[in-house]
Symmetry: C2
Subunit: 238 residues, 2 copies
């Protein structure tokens, strides 16, 4: 259980690939050192759970590498994905009681974890960090609200079109299999897409083949999507 945890060696921040984008980006060398000493790097395998839904919030983390999902389930087992965490995103619930959602790695991932108590203390003493965290949380809230409109008011076609456009943007900006910016790897199964959009796997599949047959997209392989007619896709997104 400890095999995938590396003790904070005092140097890992220097090598951190998301250092300039994560909430730590405004810290001085000394502050970074202090934060370093309370954090640990941890590797996660795809499918591994970092935080369980409803658990008392004992840890928070920065995503260094990979994709993670935040999700919650109904009592009868249907799942809704509440957000996707990308590298440099922050995870967990500081200053809070329990985490009302689970966090699980979608791909192999690397995170920089902190005991919540340690992090809370550190944050309170470092307003610039708190400020970064606040900005990030506000942005996340905006994002989440946008998603609510999708869930509440769009039909399956609109949901999928919006999703593909957003995925394409994310893919090109973070360089995932970017190619020419129109072809990209989804990194998500049909089931996961369905869980994001509040649909079933069959509906997702049907909509994708429909879009393919209409020449809006191509599906060269299971998880690869090529956008052939972006503006038509935008028309359907709303």
């Amino acid at each position: 259980m400890d095999g995938n945890i590396t003790a904070g060696s005092g140097t890992f921040c220097d090598a951190c690939t998301v250092r300039n984008r994560a909430i730590c980006s405004d810290l001085t060398r000394d502050e970074l050192g202090a934060l370093n000493s309370i954090g640990r790097q941890r590797k996660l395998r795809a499918g591994e759970q970092l935080i369980w839904e409803g658990d008392e919030a004992v840890l928070v983390a920065n995503v260094v590498e990979g994709l993670l999902k935040l999700s919650s389930s109904t009592s009868d087992g249907r799942e809704q994905i509440l957000g996707i965490a990308f590298p440099a995103d922050f995870l967990g619930r500081p200053f809070g009681g329990s985490t009302p959602y689970g966090v699980e790695a979608l791909t192999d991932a690397q995170v920089c974890v902190f005991q919540r108590k340690d992090f809370d203390r550190f944050a309170k003493e470092h307003p610039r960090l708190e400020h970064k965290l606040l900005e990030r949380t506000l942005a996340e809230l905006d994002q989440t609200r946008k998603w609510m409109l999708l869930l509440g008011r769009l039909n399956a076609e609109q949901k999928l079109a919006s999703f593909l456009l957003q995925a394409a943007d994310r893919a090109s900006e973070s360089g995932f299999f970017a190619g020419d910016g129109t072809s990209f790897d989804l990194q998500l199964s049909r089931q996961q897409i369905a869980d994001i959009l509040g649909l079933t796997i069959e509906t997702v599949s049907r909509q994708m083949t429909k879009m393919k047959s209409q020449g809006l997209i191509d599906l060269p392989s299971r998880r690869t999507v090529t956008i052939l007619d972006r503006s038509a896709l935008e028309d359907r997104a709303e």
Copy 2:
């Protein structure tokens, strides 16, 4: 257009009814005075718009009295309510570009507004205020995510049952027409409930009469709800 704006007189915080619950609650007298000097009280009529969707974020506010909705619309005019703001809640998007949702008063309301630039500056200089704002934003994010599960994965009956239970809780804790805690005033039209739950007005109506006929609730008047069988309602909520 100015008739409903009162200049900051230097004393209104003292009389503020939400002073101990709003984000200002940790400030010293001096700090409160300073904040006071950049804020203005404003009264809103039910239906009046405080912030327009997509506008550049020029103001932020504390709710002093009344209820407001945050909402967004699809291009074909269907609306989704993204959140309800209660007294002591914070409104608007500090440190940001545009507000991606509109804010409108549901009841007559009173808010304490700030120019965003003034507020941003003040906040940056007062970490305790930022901390409060952060805690509030995190709580709001949790709330919003819970709502996403409802929108994405619950059916009409489950949505309505969840909504009524939550409304009952809110009503009793904030003392709205609390009565014995089971009977309360909704303050929302059927259309607004539909916009919250991602349903149509007819579906909301049908579900309510169904619950009434099953003895779960009573509907003594248009906007009053009495919960007769809470546990049965909880069973249906998920």
